[in-house]
């Protein structure tokens, strides 16, 4: 069975600092991976996605993520965070063989001014 783990429930950083949100997945097939952001009391917004090719994918608002097959990871990064980046971030795995989408538990990011 497939699963997604986000080991950090909460991350706090200062504005302007760099950021890494961790994501580990478990899936025997080819993973399709996504990062979504959920702002307070809103739905999901897609930040970026990885299907194949270059393991570093660029997303919106300066976010990028790096896929590592050997580490079964898909960590999200940003060079310099802004206070408006405060939100909950979800790492998501799409399992082609089941047409199922599996969500991680989410990481709540707080950016201090």
């Amino acid at each position: 069975a497939q699963s997604v783990t986000q080991p950090d429930a909460r991350v706090t950083v200062s504005e302007g600092a760099s950021l890494q949100l961790r994501c580990k997945y478990s899936y025997s097939g080819t993973p399709y991976l996504f990062w979504y952001v959920q702002y307070p009391r809103q739905g999901l917004q897609l930040l970026l996605k990885y299907y194949s090719g270059d393991p570093v994918v660029q997303g919106v608002n300066g976010f990028e993520a790096e896929f590592s097959k050997s580490n079964s990871s898909f960590h999200l990064r940003k060079a310099s965070v802004h206070w408006s980046d405060s939100a909950v971030y979800f790492c998501v795995l799409s399992a082609l063989n089941t047409n199922k989408v599996v969500f991680g538990t989410g990481t709540r990011l707080q950016v201090l001014p």
Partner: protein
């Protein structure tokens, strides 16, 4: 582009009553529709996945008797929360997919259910 709309965006119902929510895909054919629930302070749980020409598959802890789903065509799906109680409150998300090689679901904004 591919868009997913959900109606209503917010709703309140009394405990023990039922509430129907809708999901509409625009700009693509939704061969699969998944419904998720995000309970307060939690992640998204899959309720059920509906795929064209297949039976609707419910996840453990969710049943057709409690969450009946209709997926009559490639652009529309609805789900009803029957006999809602406090534990049913949360954000209900619809994810519509086209299947195929690079499976991706497009998510709607969600229906936020409050149960009094």
């Amino acid at each position: 582009g591919a868009l997913v709309y959900q109606y209503p965006r917010r709703t309140i119902c009394k405990s023990g009553t039922s509430m129907r929510m809708e999901c509409q895909a625009v700009g693509f054919q939704a061969t699969s529709v998944a419904w998720y629930r995000q309970s307060p302070q939690k992640t998204f749980e899959l309720i059920a996945l509906s795929t064209v020409n297949s039976a609707i598959k419910y996840e453990q802890n969710f049943t057709q008797e409690k969450f009946p789903i209709s997926h009559p065509n490639l652009s529309f799906s609805s789900m009803t929360v029957l006999n809602a109680y406090l534990e049913d409150r949360g954000l209900y998300l619809c994810g519509a997919g086209t299947g195929g090689h690079s499976y991706e679901q497009y998510f709607g904004p969600g229906t936020r259910l409050t149960v009094l």
